[in-house]
Structure formats: C-alpha cells, structure tokens
Subunit: 507 residues, 2 copies
C-alpha cells in the first residue's frame, strides 16, 4: 500500500481514528446517511444496490433450501409479545411503542389522539406473531415441516446509533420454521447457518468463524443460538448472521401443536434465523482502506465503470461510441451465472474527479477510454484492489474475454487478504487471566495495533464471564472446529477447561 | 359457466353476497388472512408470490425508466410532517403514532416508558422525509433530474379494514423525483402512469381507465393527481395506481433549491407515484368466479401445477418419474421472457381434493398424469378459465411445444373477458340528475345487477360534487379520452358541461 507516501482520499485514516474513518467511508461512498430521525438511516442508491445484491443471492438460497416468502404485520400487540417471558425481557428496553392512531389540532399544535386500548410494539423480530400463525396453520404432521421467510424492516431502539451497525430501524430477512422432531429442527438451524457462512465468505468475501453462542449470549427465548463472527480491521468482532434452535419454547407460548401419525398430540420444534443490513457494515469495515470503500465483485451494484475521456469536441462522439460498444460487450459476459454489471459514467465532470469518486465508492474495476484508445482498440484498466499499480493499457478484446476471470481473481484476492489479516490478529498463546486482561485493556480503536480475537480454553461456567464485563469483552462463540482441551485450564479462572472459545470486543 | 347447475367451490356466490364471497375467495386461495392486529393482514406464500411477480415486473420498468432504488426511514418526526400543511391535514386522521421507546414492568404489567420528546409518525407516505433528503442532495442543475424509488411498508390507520383493499399496513412502492422544469415533471408524471397502466392491463389483465382526478380527489399537497381506475365485478371502481405532479409545493416546504446554469436559484418541481398490494385485491375482484381465484399467467406464482395420479404402489414410481420429466421440460420453456413456472403437487392427499385446492387458488393450468398417460405419453389438461369444458387429453409433446402460446391465450382471454364485462357496465346514456340518482340508489353489493360506471358530462365545479355525497359516489377521473362536450349539460346540475367524467361507487 502506498497510502503512507501520498494523501489518501478519505481525510481520516484507519490508524488515526477508526470509527471516524468508517463514518467518512460511508459518507464518501454515498452508501447511507443519518436521517432527521434519531437512529434511523437513509440508505442511498449505492448502499441499497449492495443490499439488493445480498438479497438476490440470499433469497435464492432460501428458496433452494425449501422456504417460501410471506409477510407478517409490523405491529405486535403488547399482550401477544408478553407470552414468551424471556423473549419480551430481552427486547423490552429497545421497543418502539405505538400508542395512538391519529393526530389532532390542539391549541394550534398537532398532538397524538385516539389512544389504543392495547399499545402496539413495532416488531423487533417476529417469533411471537409468526408463532400465532403457525398455531393456526399447523394441524397434523402432514403440515410439517413448515418453512417460511420474510424480508422486512424491524425496529430496536438504539441509544448510540451507528450507520449500518446499530440503527433503530434496519432491514433484514427472518426465517421461521416448525418441525415434527428435535433433530430435524437442529438440522435446519445448522443448514441456515451454513447458508449465511457461504454468503459471507463467498459473496461478501468476509471470512467468518462459525460456532455456538454461550448461554449468556443466546437469543432471548432460544435453546441454542449459532452464529458466524467476522473480524473487522480494528480487531473487533461483528456477528454477521445467527440461527436459533428454539426448542419448544415458542411452541408452548403460542400452542403450536400437531397431530402425530398415530393420533397423538405434540408440540412442534421451531427455529428462526436472520441476517440484516449490518452485513453492509461488516463488508465496509473488512475491506475498505484509506482511499474509501472496496467492494467484492459478487455484491458490487456495478462491477465495472467506464469513464469516457473526452479531450475535445471533435473526438467526443467517437469516444462515446467506443465506450458504449465496450459496455455492451462486457454486459454480454457472465460472472457467477449473472450478466456482468457495467455502468458508463456520463456525468459532466472532470475525469480525475470522476475517477476518485469511483475509487471512494469501491467499484472493483475502473476503465478509461480516450481518443488514443479508440484508435488502438485499447483500454486503461484500474483495479480497486491494486491502486498502487500503474494503470494497465490492454487490448479491449483481452479485457472482455478475461473479465469473468479478472472479477473472480479480485473476489479471491479480497477474501485472501481478509483471511490473512485475521490470521495476524487471532491470539492463541494467551493462557491466563493476567495476559488476557492486559491484551484487552488497550484503549480506543485499534487498526494499527494488535487488538483482535483471543482463542482460548474456557471452563464453560456463566459465573466466569463476570471477569469479562469490565473489559468490554464477550465470548463471541464456541467455534465448531474445536481443539483438544484435555488438561488445559480456563483462561479466565484457571479451572479445568471444557471447551475452546473465541473472546473479543465487538460491534 | 356451469356454476348455476352445480355446487360451486366457494360456499357463497358473487350474486348472494359479493363482499362475503371476496373474503371466502381470499381465504380458500390461502392468499392472506387477518392477523391478531386490527387492520393488519398476514400475506401467505401464495398471495405474497403474486406480489413478488408484480414487484419483479414493476421494478424492472422503474429501472428501465431511469430510477434508482433506495430506502428511507419508517418514522417521520411530527415537526417534519407538519411542514406541508395540506399534506398533514390529509393524513392526520389515519396516522399511527410512536410515543415511547421502551417497555417497563409496573405492578406486574408491561407498560410503555421512555417518552419521546417529539412523537414519531409511522410513514403513511414519504414525501416529507424524502423532500428533506432531496434538499440535502440537490445543489445544482447538474444534480437534476433526481429519480428514486423505494419498496416499503406504510401505515394508514383503517377503521373498516378489508384484506388487500383497505389495510392499516400495506406494502407498496413509492417513486419520488425532482426536476428542473415543470414540463419535465409533468412528463415524468405521465410516464409513470403509463407504466402502471401497462402493468395493470398487460400483467394483471385488469383493464383500466386512465385520467386525471378532479381537485376534490387529489393527493394531499398535489397540483395534479393522475390515476388508473378499474371496475370490479360488482360494478365498483378501484384505483389501481396514482401518479402525482406536486409542482413546487413540497419543494417550498423542504426548500429543494438548485442553482441554474446561469447562476440563479430555483425551486425544483417534484412528482410522486405509487402502487400497492391493493392491486392484488383488484386482481381478485376482477377475475375470480364462484369456484375461487383465477390468476392471469403473467403474475401467477406457479403457472402450471402437475398432479401425479397414483393408482397403486406398482405404478407410483413410473408416474412420479414421468411427472418430474414433464415438469423439467415445461420449466425449460419460456413465457414473457422468463422460464415457465411449474410446480409438482407431491402432497399426500386425495387427487380430487388436490385438484379443487388448485382451482380455488386459481392456478392457470392444471395437468394430471396417471399410469395410462405414462404409457401413451399423454396428459390431461384443465385450464382454470374453462372449468366447464371436459379435460383435454393431449400428447405431452404438443402440450410442451404449445405452452407459451397457451399461457398467452389464457392471459388474453382473461383481459378480454374483463373488458367485455366492463363494457356492459358503463352507462353513457345517463344525462340528468334524476336518472343518475336512481342508478346509484340501489342498495348493497351488485354482481347480478347493473351497477357500474356512469360516464357523463360535468360542469367541473367543486360545489356540484355535493350532490354525490349522499349517494356514496365520487368522480373517479376525468378520462384522457374525452368526448365532445360542446352543447352538453352537466349530469349533476344541468349547467353547461366542460368535461366528461367517470362517476362510480368505489373501494
Ligand atoms: Zn472459566
Ligand atoms: Zn355540474
């Protein structure tokens, strides 16, 4: 990286102030912005375009795994959400509550009027309302499994909002299923976590550690919560998707019963799983650099942008014709089973300014075509992942025929870089609490230093986690790929260890 | 139709009780159902599948016409929505208001807590919050036109809810644009109405009358509201899409200013336009019959369902293999530039029961394959539009090669039927108020009778519309295809007419 030798496009670098750098990247890329409403964001076209790519891929996988989309109400009556006690306890502190259904003029001011008998909660998640529907729809074993999904907005009131990462309103999908057996529900839970892992690693190029949450970090009301955890460039963890095995907890609350083959009556086992616009935050904090956003080709709204370089009026028409022809040829190529997404930047603006705007927006490939390129059939190529290299001038034919390979290589390079970064930031040599405390006691954001994950042996007791609280650290997951803990001691308490855990500060 | 001679699949006929019939069709087709929340519906997979087809087509057209998708917050602060006076006045009576941001336990009960300083309205539409964003984003003429769209849920509190037609929460898209000139904004308004007309007529097979709303029926804050109006089978009108020219009203309220080429400062002209899940209600009430839903192939989630007819264990495997092969061949065909959507019904259920379930769900083509069909390579074909005809037994090859044509003919037939029905229910011979009053004074729903639209000359004054109020009639639109009104008199007042209008009761 040459960022040390030149002025960077983002005015605050990661090393200077990671959180401020993040805000700047989001702003300069025109991904999103704060709205007038505390904690709510406006997702701008470039940011929403990334979400649409994520949606498209995830929706396809959700269908292929046998789920159907539907839509449930945004409002949940207070008396309904109270039914599962630990569930409501988990969300009570962050619920938006609708109490009135109209406004009236009073002393020249608009005020709420028409008070509701039962207040309505704006859904923070939909287990309760979907559970009610499941109870209506499920009669016999023939109705199982029941596997549905919805794409929706949810609200969890946020006192310290941060765009994409913690917003009062966010967009997500939530899957909900009911099964006749515990094993089938556990299989579903695992299958959907694998869908998220694949999405994260192969589409977002964000490597993750898959595992189970300790009891303290479970979804309110779940029997097991499984998750994928990604590492951001400041060494903090971000949960990129969760899949919950709910056992019969919500079935009991909503009375989801079915008649078995032999005429008995049983409670169904349910699951739920979700991924949200937080993924975009994960993407940004994993891949971006001091020149702005970098998007993996798989989820870039445009994978290629072509800048016409107009020197004078005389050659303008020729250049535009060549640019349009090149765009058409590229759009006829395919990458990941879809047409290549290419855009021509026709804005009435200085070429250098245009180029930097696309660098900050993280488009994977920038092409420039000027009068000389028209004559020679060539094109200047910049890859966002290799800004420190000189523009390559290559024949257009070569560019077109090799575009799918080029995009795939960029995608792989971004994933490999993120894996390599993470490898340097996972400590496996911290074995006692003194070293553990020292490692996590560093202040502030930490792009330059060595803050990261600690992978260590743990005794598995809830009490031991008290030693994490004042450090602002949590157990992110008990990774599926467990090392041998025989004879090892807990990093927190020194007691005999039962399991390996990932410890980290987190978003 | 043979429905007079046999028992129909829907237990209440259109002639008996049109509104009750509608509810039954929705329920039996498993399109949607009331939720525990007053006025909010659960959209079930088959109903949501229709919405996804509508979305796919409309989203494509919205992109092709130069708009970008994005997402704005669901909450609008009270002080923001007050800025455009006539706008807030139009929506004040039906707004859900969030007043608190958490719940706490008090005397063993959960109660709202954490009162907000400024209450938040759940968006009934987003002109105000998007106007604020436009004011931030637009600096100069170079930033215009700005053309965006969002797919979202909105809430308009409904005292007399009716599934798909009037629900407190509904799904829609809302487009919002800003332009440098009045003419360009008017062109945009017209272009998007034409997109809706095309969607309605060519995808939903619902014929519509396009025109402008009279002043009394305009969107709150609009200068002009244009609409498409469909006729339901009870002769009532349903507004299937609207496109608003907002002039500079919202630009003034939000201060959407831009610098002109010569350095001046001007207010932008804005438009907005929307279509919602109401379209599904229009679809149902236009096409369904006393045997349930009928779906036009263009928007059917599955266009074809194949029922395996299993006589005995011995031939079951052969039948299933033949069914799967036929499904694969059909899915390889294309209709409307998309793969044909075909589904195999593998449920463990009686074949007759299955057949009727699909008839009630309105799938356009039902195929049955039994052991004899396997041997002869044939298939039994039922078209939902021709239930009174005997099943046709035809060679599978013929079915496959002709499937696109067959679907296109069904689509055309459904549109033609709806056009023909409408033609019998538009009265153009009612010229004075006595006849007008008599026509619209009939009680109740009217599938069997002649309730419908009156197309008549009108004087164009707002006062004259008072004569409509007690009849429950409104002016649906001033149709674009105007007849000559020279020398004619107003059907309401007898004064000289200035324009032709469509009068009707409506949803
Ligand atoms: Zn321990
Ligand atoms: Zn008149």
């Amino acid at each position: 990286m040459s960022s040390a030798q030149r002025k960077t496009a983002i005015r605050i670098t990661r090393a200077e102030d990671f959180p401020a750098w993040y805000q700047e990247v989001v702003k300069e890329a025109e991904m999103a912005e704060p709205s007038g409403v505390r904690g709510c964001m406006v997702i701008r076209p470039w940011g929403y375009g990334v979400w649409e790519q994520i949606q498209k891929r995830l929706d396809q996988r959700i269908r292929e795994t046998g789920h159907q989309n539907c839509y449930f109400p945004i409002f949940i009556p207070l008396d309904l959400i109270e039914k599962e006690a630990s569930h409501v306890e988990g969300f009570a502190k962050e619920m938006a509550v609708v109490t009135h259904h109209r406004l009236i003029q009073k002393d020249g001011k608009l005020v709420p009027d028409g008070q509701l008998e039962v207040p309505l909660v704006v859904r923070p998640t939909s287990e309760t309302v979907i559970g009610e529907a499941f109870a209506r729809w499920i009669r016999s074993y023939r109705d199982l499994p029941l596997k549905i999904n919805q794409w929706a907005n949810v609200v969890r009131w946020e006192m310290r909002p941060r765009v994409f990462l913690r917003t009062s309103e966010f967009l997500w999908q939530e899957g909900h299923t009911a099964h006749a057996s515990r094993d089938e529900a556990l299989d579903e839970t695992a299958m959907m976590l694998e869908v998220y892992r694949d999405l994260s690693e192969n589409w977002l190029a964000v490597p993750v550690i898959a595992g189970e949450k300790p009891e303290s970090e479970r979804f309110p009301g779940a029997v097991e919560t499984h998750c994928i955890e990604a590492m951001m460039q400041d060494g903090k963890a971000l949960q990129a998707g969760t899949s919950h095995f709910l056992g019969q907890n919500f079935s009991k609350a909503a009375n989801i019963q079915y008649q078995t083959k032999d005429g008995g009556l049983e409670l169904a086992y349910t699951t739920s799983w979700g991924a949200s616009t937080r993924l975009i935050g994960a993407l940004i904090m994993t891949h971006s650099d001091d020149d702005g956003l970098r998007l993996p080709p798989a989820v870039a709204p445009s994978q290629i942008v072509i800048l016409p370089i107009i020197r004078d009026e005389a050659s303008a028409a020729d250049v535009m014709a060549a640019v349009d022809a090149l765009a058409a040829r590229l759009a006829a190529e395919r990458y990941l089973d879809l047409p290549v997404r290419v855009e021509v930047d026709r804005r009435d603006m200085n070429a250098g300014e245009k180029r930097w705007s696309w660098i900050k927006r993280g488009v994977p490939v920038i092409l420039e075509v000027g009068p000389r390129d028209v004559a020679s059939g060539s094109v200047a190529v910049t890859e966002r992942v290799a800004l420190d290299q000189k523009k390559a001038i290559i024949p257009q034919d070569e560019l077109v025929s090799g575009i799918a390979t080029r995009l795939a290589l960029i995608q792989k390079q971004m994933f490999d870089q993120a894996v390599a970064f993470r490898a340097t930031r996972i400590r496996t040599d911290i074995a006692d609490y003194d070293a553990f405390r020292a490692f996590f006691s560093k202040e502030g954001s930490d792009f330059a230093g060595d803050l990261g994950f600690v992978r260590a042996a743990w005794c598995g007791t809830r009490e031991s986690e008290a030693k994490l609280d004042d450090l602002g650290v949590t157990i992110r997951c008990l990774p599926y790929d467990q090392g041998d803990v025989a004879g090892r001691t807990c990093v927190l308490t020194g007691a005999p260890a039962t399991v390996e855990a990932i410890f980290a500060k987190s978003y």
